[in-house]
């Protein structure tokens, strides 16, 4: 577990030291945003889909109790073993418990942000269980000793030459080979051996259907399926908010998910797991970990509608130029910034401020989460709960006091402009953050108010 002391601002300052790299990261993610636009603009019913998906998820939040009970009853009838975990620690214990029971020490895992959130890999590592992440992007960051930087594109921050070096070191590929086709082929062979020899597969859950007790896992690579269909035990890990009421609702969500994420009409595989295969055990772990608490926050509960598509990250001009690791939470970007403070307001107090509130995120979100409004509201909540720096509070109180007194505002403005004119070097010194990359505006002799008084004199 990385010990965290740096804020988003500090980490993104570090990220921005290599400007060319930031531009590359930004352009790559912008291109994905454009692919999403292209897919969406081919569908006149796109906004209707978003509205419908949003309405279904609103219903889910309002009926989550009964839907969870219904899902459990149907899943159990299907032969799936259902577990409930109040928090991340319990989730990890439950998963390990299943492995221990069967004497398993080597497993494969496909992409699950829920397991990232719970720190499962680290936990299992301490218990001497060998976990191989089988999604190519996740395997890359795993070999590198990192966590994913994006929920859909785990190693978007890695260049192919760097991946080539990594594979040379760990997989024995020829030095200097950075051909994606070749490297993917090497990973295919390396991971195929794991699929064929490991008997437990952990997956995430994209959607769990209350009506039928089945759950859907969406991948492009087929790694979730290669793992589960060759395993004796399939453990699916799921946040409780991933429930949807009816099977027919998948017709809405599966039309939105891949198009929002990468601009594809669908992921290659949409695997509907309903019953364990003959001779196989299938488990599902339903995890709360702060979700029921978020459900009780009227201003923030809509964040639980998230289907983890990553569109908000791709569009966010700040995310593209700061990178997922600047957010220090498994879910980064705009959605991460409204989920994380619920878990630890103090630790993640910086995240809602890592935004200009431009609103792009809310408008690409397939389930219409009011992300940028929630960012604003979290700022108030965080300040109210005492997590703002004292110097900032002090400065804000002074500013508010000045702005509440017209004479003080006018005098302050006039003095500031005079100082800027008389002592330009004082104002231009680079310790003032504004001045690092920008010039200050030229200070005029007259404010608008002063001009108006001289030239119009009407009230």
């Amino acid at each position: 577990m990385q010990t965290v002391t740096k804020s988003h601002a500090e980490l993104s300052e570090g990220f921005n030291k290599d400007e060319a790299r930031v531009s590359w990261h930004d352009e790559t993610l912008w291109w994905i945003r454009q692919k999403r636009d292209k897919a969406a603009h081919q569908m006149p019913e796109w906004e209707w889909l978003r509205q419908t998906a949003s309405g279904i998820k609103d219903y889910v939040l309002g009926n989550l109790h009964d839907l969870l009970e219904l899902f459990e009853a149907n899943a159990l009838a299907n032969g799936i073993k259902v577990h409930w975990a109040a928090d991340a620690a319990e989730h990890n214990r439950i998963v390990y418990g299943i492995l221990q029971e069967h004497g398993v020490t080597k497993i494969v895992k496909s992409k699950s942000m829920l397991t990232e959130e719970c720190g499962l890999n680290e936990y299992l590592h301490e218990k001497q269980v060998d976990v191989v992440d089988t999604d190519l992007g996740e395997r890359i960051v795993q070999l590198a000793g990192e966590v994913p930087s994006h929920i859909v594109l785990p190693c978007i921050h890695w260049k192919k030459e760097e991946i080539g070096e990594l594979f040379h070191k760990f997989l024995g590929t020829p030095e200097g080979n950075a051909d994606p086709q070749f490297l993917t082929g090497a990973a295919r062979i390396h991971l195929r051996e794991k699929f064929l020899t490991r008997r437990v597969a952990i997956t995430g859950v994209n959607f769990a259907v209350a009506e039928t007790g089945e759950f859907v896992v969406c991948t492009n690579e087929g790694n979730a399926d290669m793992g589960t269909h060759l395993s004796d035990i399939h453990i699916a890990c799921m946040g409780i908010e991933k429930i949807i009421p009816k099977q027919e609702h998948l017709g809405i969500f599966l039309r939105l998910l891949a198009r929002s994420a990468t601009g594809q009409p669908t992921t290659t595989y949409n695997s509907h797991f309903k019953k364990p295969a003959p001779g196989q055990e299938m488990h599902i772990v339903l995890v709360d970990n702060g979700r029921s608490r978020q459900l009780g926050r009227p201003d923030f509960r809509n964040s639980l509608k998230c289907i983890r598509c990553g569109a908000c990250m791709n569009t966010c001009p700040v995310y593209r130029r700061s990178g997922g690791h600047s957010y220090k939470y498994a879910i980064s970007g705009p959605i991460g910034s409204i989920l994380a403070p619920n878990l630890d307001m103090e630790k993640h107090a910086d995240l809602p401020f890592a935004s200009t509130l431009c609103g792009s995120c809310s408008n690409v979100c397939p389930v219409k989460i009011d992300i940028h409004d929630q960012l604003y509201k979290w700022r108030q909540e965080i300040t109210k709960n005492g997590h703002a720096p004292k110097a900032k509070t002090f400065a804000m109180k002074i500013v508010a006091a000045v702005l509440a007194r017209p004479w003080m505002y006018r005098l302050g403005g006039s003095v500031a402009r005079k100082m800027m004119r008389l002592f330009p070097s004082l104002m231009n010194n680079k310790s003032i953050p504004w001045n690092k990359a920008r010039e200050l505006p030229a200070p005029p002799k007259q404010s608008f108010g002063e001009w108006y008084a001289k030239n119009r004199k009407k009230v």
Binding site: A9, V22, P44, S355, V364, L403, R438
Partner: protein, 243 residues
């Protein structure tokens, strides 16, 4: 029709020419415009930084200074949006009344005055920066995220200006990176965002960047001047006021 002019604090102090241009355009369009002299600020700097609870002074000043008008018009998308969504002075009824009457400059011209022609001439290559709060908040123009019919109030007005060459940047509505106190608290990302916007306009051969928010323009201008760029910024009111 009695109109009150709301002048954002940073325009009042640093860009008075924008206030003058706004006033002159409105007057030329036949408006009876008043400038309440005791106005200060909309309160956004505190609110967006998490200190909405300190906005009482600003809110009460707005209620005090801007009650009793038919419309309140201001050359700023973000300030007007803030007032529209967050004005809650002690007098809630008066606040509600003002929230319903507050307009950004371009939307006032297109929606209320229903301007179809302008006596303006500006023979330059102009790039339109679409400020986020005006665009996505006040719906001054359609945003690229939505699958919806295109429209743009600022563009409609700029189209009435003779000899203007309006050029769009590659990324038509990406944020400039100002974001209020964001510009200093997340300086590195803010500067990079601003540099990228400036470069986008520069690469299209644009001479002057315009928009509805001087905060965006001030941030981009700061970067342009540091880079010794030949480009300039002008608020849309200044262009609509050019003859």
């Amino acid at each position: 029709m009695k109109i009150a002019l709301f002048i954002p604090c940073y325009i009042d102090q640093f860009y008075p020419q924008v206030g003058i241009a706004t006033l002159e355009v409105l007057e030329r369009l036949g408006c009876d415009v008043h400038f309440p002299p005791n106005q200060t600020c909309c309160g956004q700097p505190m609110a967006n930084s998490g200190y909405q609870h300190l906005d009482g002074g600003c809110d009460n000043l707005i209620v005090k200074n801007f009650s009793g008008y038919d419309y309140i018009v201001g050359p700023s998308g973000s300030c007007i949006l803030h007032i529209k969504h967050h004005l809650h002075g002690e007098d809630e009824e008066a606040s509600k009344d003002i929230r319903g009457k507050v307009f950004e400059f371009t939307e006032f011209l297109t929606d209320i005055l229903k301007v179809e022609t302008l006596e303006a001439r500006f023979p330059h290559k102009v790039g339109l920066h679409q400020s986020c709060h005006g665009q996505r908040g006040l719906h001054l123009s359609q945003m690229s995220e939505l699958v919806a019919p295109p429209f743009s109030k600022p563009e409609k007005l700029l189209g009435m200006v003779k000899d203007i060459e309006l050029i769009k940047p590659e990324r038509v509505d990406e944020c400039c990176g100002f974001g209020g106190t964001f510009c200093v608290f997340e300086e590195a990302v803010s500067a990079k965002m601003g540099k990228d916007r400036v470069a986008d306009h520069q690469n299209k051969g644009i001479e002057i960047i315009t928009g509805v928010d001087v905060s965006c323009l001030m941030h981009m201008e700061g970067i342009m001047r540091r880079q010794k760029s030949p480009m300039k910024v002008m608020h849309i009111a200044e262009i609509l006021n050019s003859r």
